[in-house]
Amino acid sequence: MKTFLFSLSSLVLAMSLCAQGPEVAVDSGGVGTPREAIIKSSSLLKVNVTYQSFSPHIPWQKESPGSRRGLGVVLKGNEILVTAQMVADSTYIELEQPESGQKLTAKVKAVDYEANVAVLVAENAERAKGFFAEVKPMEIDTGARIGDGLSVWQIGPAGDLIVTPLRVSKVETADYFVDGSVFLVYEGNGIIRTEGNSFTLPVVKGGKLAGLLLRYDSKNQVTTVLPAPIIDHFLKDTADGTYEGFPNLGVEFQLTLDGQFRDYLKMKEGDTGMYVSQVMKGMTGEKLGLKEGDIITSVNGFDIDSRGNYRDPQYGTLSVSHVVRGRAFVGDALKVTVMREGKEVVLEGKLARKNPAEMIVSPYRFDRGPNYLLAGGLLFQELSKAYLEGFGRDRQTGPILRLARLAKSPEEFEKKGCKKIIFLSAVLPTPSAQGYERMGGQIVEEVNGVAITDLTTLDEALKKPVNGVHTIRLGEFPHLIHIDALAMERDNMAIITGGYRVGSLKRIE
């Protein structure tokens, strides 16, 4: 009885899918063959990734390898779409045919960790030919709206397709994978079952790709989808071979709902807009001429309400960040109207992007190890979010709090011309560093009379000891240390070959 019911419901699903997409193979055996996989997709591949991240605190070492298993969507040109999170710090990527189990080694062709999208291609084009023979690429549909029915696809152990319906209940902007990266998402409610290869799952509308599963909150049964418009943007950007990434505005906003705050800003009844509370250096907002205290009333023709939203023709009320980031490209025109000291001012310019590498405190870093320099046991590193996050929330005391605060507002270092903030993160006990073993957390200001603005200047400065002694000035207690230059060289050799077995004394990339 139970079996019967199950097969019946499967059939209904299969039929509706059949009507939507020709690439879905349907087993029309009906009630009589209930135990066979009923539907299959020839556009999905299992993707198995082995990854190994670098240790933020012992930067020459990698952590233990781990694995992620998800589904990739085959696009035209036999490129496979997955989330960036899937391939972060990958050491080995393989594609697997769901049914035959045939495998093919793949590599990352393009990746954007902010938008959380990546495209894979075969490592060896010759071998790929046979592998992709039966595979059909999937098209992308960017047209989903609130209320639309989508389905999440999973693949069972025998290559059978498991389809879970999902209705879009909300479209908004939300956090992606990298801290502070906010883009468009679809949200829906529904239960997604646990299966192998569920790290990344395709979300489909009418047989076309509507998005990738971004996260699933099993407690509240909320499914968040990385939507097709963001994927499409990424693919368009990669098409010409150079990837520019999404523009960033570099402006902090505040709501203007508080009636007394509105009075203070001299906003009249019915006036809307958002208050500019901070303009970051060297980013679009600053180049455009935005100033703290401005009230932004419209962006590229869209009126902005007091929550910082506009009315999107496709999705309705949505954060303005979608206008300047999610749906915009670097170089696009930007026109912003602001109220400044009671007058309307129109600002025009182009959308730009500041890359993580140009930022004084690196917001994220994958696939490459943290930069560092070891000198006679003294370990110097660049201040980065990854380093601070490595401590976890509970252990943030004293020096870590200080470093975290510098990372949050590094303007003082930018003013001094620092490209990175260099600090002494730890000391490997060596004879030349005798007495300094317990140090750590101090900002490096000057070495042998040279101001330190990044690891390269530090590396150079350490080549010029004065009278055989290195003089290192630090921002915090004990402020001043000296190391014998010859002894340091001796210890450097010992660090490579001796007990510490550090492969290399530095990584400066």
């Binding site: 009636g259 007394q260 705050f261 203070y264 709090l401 402020h479």
Partner: protein, 492 residues
Amino acid sequence: MKFASVSAAVLMAVSLPWAGMAQPIDLSSSVWDGVVNIDASMQVPDYREPWNGGRPTGGSGTGFLIGKNRFLTNAHVVSNATKLVIRSSNDPEPHPARIVFIAHDCDLAILEAVDGKHFEHLKPMQLGGIPKLNTEVIAVGYPIGGDRISVTRGVVSRIDFRQYSHSGVDSHLSIQVDAAINPGNSGGPVIQDGKVVGVAFQGYSGNVAQNVGYMIPVPVIQRFLKDVEDGKYDHYVDLAISDFPIENPAQRKALGLGEDGIGVMVGSAEPAGSGGKVLKTGDVIVAMDGSPVFNNGLIKLDDELVNMNEVVERKFAGDSIEIEFLRDGKKMKETVKLARFEPYVRLGNLYDERPRYLVYAGLVFQPLERNLMDAHSIQDPLVNYLFDNFLGDKLYVEKPEPVILTQVLPDEVNTFLTPYAHGVVEEINGVKITRLADVKAALAKKNGDEPFVVVKLMEVNRPLVLRRDLAEEAHPRIMKTYNIPQDAFLGE
């Protein structure tokens, strides 16, 4: 210099008296008579709802007679007391008592009975000296486990400079003994050869370390007694510098030191401290008051190597110290007048103080202190940064008393401001806020006829704005709703 790092040392929270007798215990001797039990009723201030009276509690400890109607005990036995009663061993009658002097930085206090006549027949106990290692001592007092007087016995295990956990920030000479010291022993005498060689005051709980108890030694007691001779307690003085031991040969060479092991580097000097007026980072202290200071920061005093702070420890407010030091290889000698280092105090536990605060239209302002941090369990990273790096980053120079917006008591006038609780106040109506007292005047300040009160918080890029007319109308309402009897207490 006495900036101690946070250590695991725990105060025997319940006072533990330790009364001990010298080797030949003469039970007929009157040596016990001067050891009294102290019963304290206390009111623990409420830093969360600072307008409230606090939480009543109580405790018990030991004290002993050191002069005519003068009982010595620990400060932590009688801190925050609302009522004190002393009982002697063979007398069931409780005698009301009061505090004459209290020194939280060295955990000592002197009490007197309201009516001293009852104790006139008792012989005060005499102070001895610093006992030698591995010599026997006894601790006498009223610890848990019974009501009558208790004696435990042990030897002197170690003499060292240690953190005193009552304030949590002060370190002084202290003597470790292996006689059992338990809750209730606090304030009691530790005795050798019939004389008091220390006051039992702290130890470890049994799951941390065994048989480790500490007593306040005679030099610290005598310093306290001398300090109060003029009728008031002036506190310890401090050089307010941090020394960095010189162990590295290159460091020694670069700083121009010889091979004789003399000299310790100044790692930081507090600009507002007494040492900071003369010394700066990178200077090398070679001698204090004529005694050589070694590379590890120890100094030779009375033929013993002790922490160099010990020289300062023995001084009083207004005393001077002569420091010989090297700067850029040049020998220098300066006299430093010693004073208390105020910024340090708020990092420690405060007692016998009514919490200060100011409420305005539901916004509660309080000064940053350890008591406040503990009470509000503030997670905000900026506030924690300020507290943890208050000295290290010299934050006290600009903000001697950072003011925190600890709560926003919700009302329609401030409902949009509730997310900003735990912010650090930077400015009010254009006036920089450096201490709580500034808040009152700044709130009252009017910029022409501007109808707003504007509060700027550190690292919050929008001002918090209240319409003055609405705020003033709401203020009495909020006070009434939240049962706040008084809208500010800014100190005595």
